[in-house]
Each structure stands twice: as structure tokens, then as C-alpha cells.
């Protein structure tokens, strides 16, 4: 990593299991700031788990994550998380503006009472994603692409520095995809760091500056041109690590710990 590039995130030796089966083994990488970064890998390769672990929604069995050299809990107001679109029930009785206003909770008062400024920022975020005309629309009456844009607007309204998004391009049409990509690159150009889980290998090279290639273990992390090599892709998508996968199955079956207790991996 070049000297002038500051580190936005460091993931140190992350091992995470979901249920009893380990889904991330010793994943270790650093991310430069002010980049549009893609997390790429086949289905079930632990992309979503990685994001959730970074956000502290899942406790890793070992390892830690630091953002801007600090614990997540100390920098939460600088980080925004966009969960998968399917993770919520869109038939929930709420309007588009209601959802975007949720992005202002951190900044507004104790019980989430919102002020005029919050409303203005939410409307501003809706305008940026081209949904200002939909602010009163019931969220169940949105298309897939519009739902993604509403989530994006909520994230923008958080005014963070570091953004983690889980599949913001899933289930959107070509026009929406272009619009969302423009917003993301615009954010990057303003100095934000974005970590995007993405499922489409073909567009990844075009979309991202920097890529984390994942398949349960870290295959590669680095600038796009260095990571997306035939060899790396073969490693991530082609050859299965049969032994690793069998060990994972065994761990689940025998309910065996993946890490022994009392081993401190953080030297302070």
C-alpha cells in the first residue's frame, strides 16, 4: 500500500461461523480510504457475513475489525450500513420518507425525534437518488430498483464517511443500475469509502477500483486489475477446497470449537 493512502479498515484474522459452520476462515486484509471497493465471490462465500461482522452484528470467533484505527462502536456515526433489500418486509406500513428519515436517527434526539434540518437532509438524499417525487409513496408500491434507491437515500442521509452496502445492485433494471453506480462513484469522488457486496463478476471490473475476492477464505485483495486475474478467479470460483469444506462440515457435525478459548489474538 502506498504511503499517502490512509487505511480506512483493517480486518485482522477474522474467523466467523454462522450457525455452527464456519463461513469465514482467517480473513485478513486492509482497505485504503476513498475507494469504491467490491466484495466478490460465489454464493455462500461469506460476503454478507463479512459485512455483518464488520458492523458488529455478528461476533467473530477470532480476530477483530478496526475502522479508522478505532473500534466500530467508537466510529459508528461515521459508518453507514445498507442491508440486503430482501432482509426487510416491504409491506410494512411506512412511506418512503419514513424510511429515509430512519437514517437521521443517530444524529437526532434521544427518542428519535426529528427536526427540520433532518427532514431537509432526508429530502435532499431522496433528490440525489431521483426519488424526491416519491416521498409520500407507500414502500410496498415500489419496484425493486426503487426500493434499492430508498435504502441508498437512507444511507446518504446518514452522512457517513464509510459505507457498507449489501448487494445494492440486486434486482434492479439496467437504468437503475446505471443511476446507482453514478451515485456511488460520485460519493467516492467526494472522498467517501464504499465497500459493496456484488454478485455479478462481469460488471465488477467496470464498477470497482479495488476488490476483495472471497470464498470462505480470502483469495485476494487489492486494486481491481491485480485481483481479477484468471488465476485468482479460478481459485475463487473454480477449484473447491475440498479439505477445508470437509473440515467445516465436521466442525458443524461434532459441534467442535473453531478457536480454542483463552487465546488472545489482540496484542495491546
Amino acid at each position: 500500500m502506498k504511503k499517502e493512502e490512509k487505511i480506512a479498515l483493517e480486518a485482522h484474522n477474522l474467523t466467523v461461523s454462522y450457525g455452527a459452520r464456519p463461513v469465514l476462515w482467517d480473513v485478513d486484509f486492509e482497505l485504503p480510504e476513498k475507494k469504491l471497493i467490491g466484495v466478490i465471490g460465489p454464493n455462500g462465500s461469506g460476503k454478507t457475513t463479512l459485512l455483518k461482522t464488520i458492523m458488529g452484528l455478528i461476533e467473530p470467533l477470532s480476530g477483530y475489525v478496526e475502522i479508522y484505527n478505532q473500534n466500530m462502536d467508537d466510529v459508528r456515526n461515521r459508518v453507514s450500513y445498507v442491508p440486503q433489500r430482501e432482509s426487510v418486509d416491504w409491506d410494512f406500513p411506512a412511506s418512503v420518507l419514513d424510511v429515509v428519515m430512519m437514517g437521521r436517527y443517530t444524529k437526532s434526539g434521544l427518542f428519535g425525534r426529528a427536526g427540520k434540518d433532518d427532514r431537509k437532509m432526508a429530502m435532499n438524499a431522496l433528490e440525489q437518488v431521483g426519488m424526491a417525487g416519491f416521498s409520500n409513496r407507500q414502500i410496498s408500491k415500489l419496484s425493486g430498483g426503487q426500493q434499492q434507491r430508498v435504502f441508498l437515500a437512507r444511507s446518504l442521509a446518514q452522512q457517513a464517511d464509510f459505507y457498507l452496502m449489501d448487494e445494492p445492485f440486486a434486482g434492479v433494471d439496467a437504468a437503475s443500475e446505471r443511476a446507482i453506480l453514478d451515485i456511488l462513484t460520485g460519493m467516492r469522488d467526494k472522498g467517501k469509502t464504499l465497500l459493496i457486496v456484488h454478485h455479478d463478476l462481469h460488471t465488477a471490473a467496470e464498477f470497482f477500483d479495488y476488490i476483495i475476492l472471497l470464498n470462505t477464505r480470502l483469495v485476494a485483495a487489492g486494486p481491481t486489475s491485480e485481483v481479477l486475474t484468471t488465476e485468482n478467479l479460478q481459485l475463487a470460483y473454480g477449484a473447491q477446497l475440498t479439505v477445508l469444506s470437509q473440515v467445516a462440515d465436521l466442525v458443524k457435525e461434532k459441534d467442535f470449537p473453531v478457536r480454542e478459548k483463552g487465546l488472545k489474538d489482540r496484542q495491546q
Binding site: 455483518k52 458492523m55 458488529g56 452484528l57 462502536d73 459508528r76 456515526n77 459508518v79 453507514s80 450500513y81 442491508p83 432482509s87 426487510v88 418486509d89 410494512f92 406500513p93 411506512a94 412511506s95 419514513d98 424510511v99 430512519m102 436517527y105 443517530t106 427518542f111 428519535g112 425525534r113 407507500q138 410496498s140 437512507r154 446518514q158
Partner: protein, 425 residues
Amino acid sequence: MSNFWNDPNAIIVLLGTVLLSMGAAVVGNFTFLRKRALVGDAVAHSVLPGICVAFLISGSKDPIWLMLGAVIAGWISLLVMDFIIRKTRLKADTATGLVLSVFFGLGIFMLTSIQHSGNASQTGLDKFLFGNAASMMERDVYIFAGTAVILLILTLVFYRPFRLVSFNREFAESIGMPVWFYEFLLSTMTVLAVASGIQAVGVVLMAALLITPAAAGRYWTDKLPIMMLLSALFAGISAWGGTWVSFAVPSMPTGPWIIMFLSIIAITSILIAPQRGIVARNRLRRRNESKILRENILKTFYYLGQANRDFKIPRTAQDLLEIRGFSVKELQLGLRLESKIGNLVRNGNGWALSDEGLAESFRIVRLHRLWEMYLNKRLHLKPDHVHQGAEAIEHVITPELEKLLEEELGHPTLDPHQSEIPYLP
């Protein structure tokens, strides 16, 4: 019921049951939205052993003791469900069913033992099964209604975090919100709501009071505050009715009557609510069917005139039936409707297209053929596979979509079968 209004105790009990039903209904909105209806039912049944133990320890039917027992048992049931889900291979539905039946079975067993113990003060403990509002004392009412007021205030104060946690738990966690606290609070409020309703509604039917008002309210609105107000209103009206019956026929349990009134409101909502209701959806379907029929008739006029490029020749029903399989009855209905709209004009034995009808028939055939083009070019369907799809889609395409289609296909003039895509001159 002239003496009903003259009985101050009756009025107090009435207000009390109305208030506690409203409290349960408002809290129930979040139980409903978090899809925890069954958990609510399990908790409601599980408070019964708690009531029995409280009675055995305190030896009285003091509502404070009984509520305490109910709340503790309710919480234990929640913890047991959580434990089963996390520590065993059983899934959530099994855990819920298991806890409900085991706790309730235990409660019934204890209730029966107490009743046969010859304890003089136990009379009326069985009222907790189905509720009996008329047997409530003034002090009971104050305690249960007071609980309901506390629940309403808590809901108002924590409305926004509750809504966020119910809608998108992970996001709430990601912004550092103490989600565990709000979930703990919501669970406690649910248990309290159940506990406050035991004497009026009974444990067996309490879950219905928790969930049904919110489910009915959802049918009328997309706005959560209005949904909550409606659910409170529905619960209040039902409680009023149930309590009134309880005073009129004192041997009658209150719970089933409250739930009867509530069910009538819920079924009515499911039937007649605008947009979401069954009647509205059926009406929309019938309107669509009528539109499809009428557009198919106009299209048939186009096909008949296509060969000679003379679309305005009058046609009889027989002419139309020769090229398209309408049933005679629906054809006559469609023809009548179209002449009423003014797209068709009666002419001797038959009907002819008016100017408006001509434009309509052109439009439908145009949409049909544009869609065939689209299926052929974009979805790469063979020309002999596109007709059926277009038969359905031609009826839903809006003018905006039509424009998009034309642009995307480069304003074609011929469809995949080399037939003309018609535009009025």
C-alpha cells in the same frame, strides 16, 4: 339495560375493559408487525400457571399478585422459547407450540388442583380462562386500566425506535441503537398487556385481542399511526360490546364476546376495506375482465376490416364469432357496453366502429404487435411463439410504456409476422 347505566361499578368496569383492550391492541401492533403473533399466543397461554402459583403463595386473588405471577410466567415462557431455538435443533414454530401446550397444560392442572382443594377463596379463579368482566372489583379495574395507560404512554414515547426495530432490526443495530433494550421493552409490554387482560378476556383468547385489531387496522391504511388508532378503536368498541353482554348475562364469559365483536370487525375489514379488501380486489378483477373483453371485441373489428382496409363496415355478432371464440352472452354484453361508451354504433342488424372506436381498435392491435416485436427482438422468442403473450399484455400497456416500446424498437412498421403495426393516418 336501564340499570346498567345506573350502576357505578358497571361504568367503571366498562371503562376499564375498554382501556385495557385498547392498550393491548396498541402494543399488539408491534407484535403483529414483528410477525410474532404466535409467540403472543404462547405467552398468553403461559401466564396461567403463573396466576395459579401467585394464588397459592399469596392465598388471595389480589390483582397485584396475580399480575406479578402472570408477568413472571410470561417472561419465563419467552426465555424458554428463546432457549429452545438457540440450543436445540428445533425450529421457532415447534418451540412456540411446545411452550404453549406445556405451560397451558401445567396451568390447567394447577387450576384443577386448586379448585378441588376446598379453598374457599378460590371461587372464580376459573374466570381467568375466558374472562368475566362483571366479576371485576373496582380496585382490579384501576390496576388493570392503570397498566394499560402505562403501556399507551410507553408506546407513544418509544414509537420511533419501536417502529425502526420492527421494520429493520439489523439497520437499527448498525447505527448503535440498543436493540436488545427495545426488544426487551416490547416483550415486557406484550407480557404486561396479556397480564392486564386476564380477568376481562381470559388467557385463552387474549392473543386475539393483541393481534386481531392490528390485523384489521392494516386493511384500512398504509400509515402506522392511523393503523394504531384504528386498532385501538376496534378493540375499544369490541370491549364495550363484550362487557355489556357480560352484565346482561352474568353467567356468560366476557372474552368470547369481545372476540366475537372483534372478529366481526376483522372479517368486515378483510371483505370491504378499499384496495386491500376482497370485494375491492374482486371489483378490480371484474373491471379488468370487462376491459379485456371489450378491447378484444374492438380488435376483432380491426381484423375483420384488415383485408379490405375498410374498418367501419357494420358487423353482426355472427361475423365476430366467426373469427374469435367469444361466448354469445359475453359478446352481447361487451357490444352493449362499447356502444354505451360510444366506441360502437348500432347499424341495422349489426354494429360499426365510431371514430373513437376505430382509434381504440388501432391502438390495441398496435400494442399487440409492438409487444410481439419486443418479445421477438429482446426475449428472442420465435415469431410463432409471441402471439399468446401479446394477447394478454396488450391490455395492460400504458401510453408511457407504449412510447418506450416504440423508442426501444426504433419505431417499427411491421410485426414479426410481417403484418402492419397500425397507426391512424
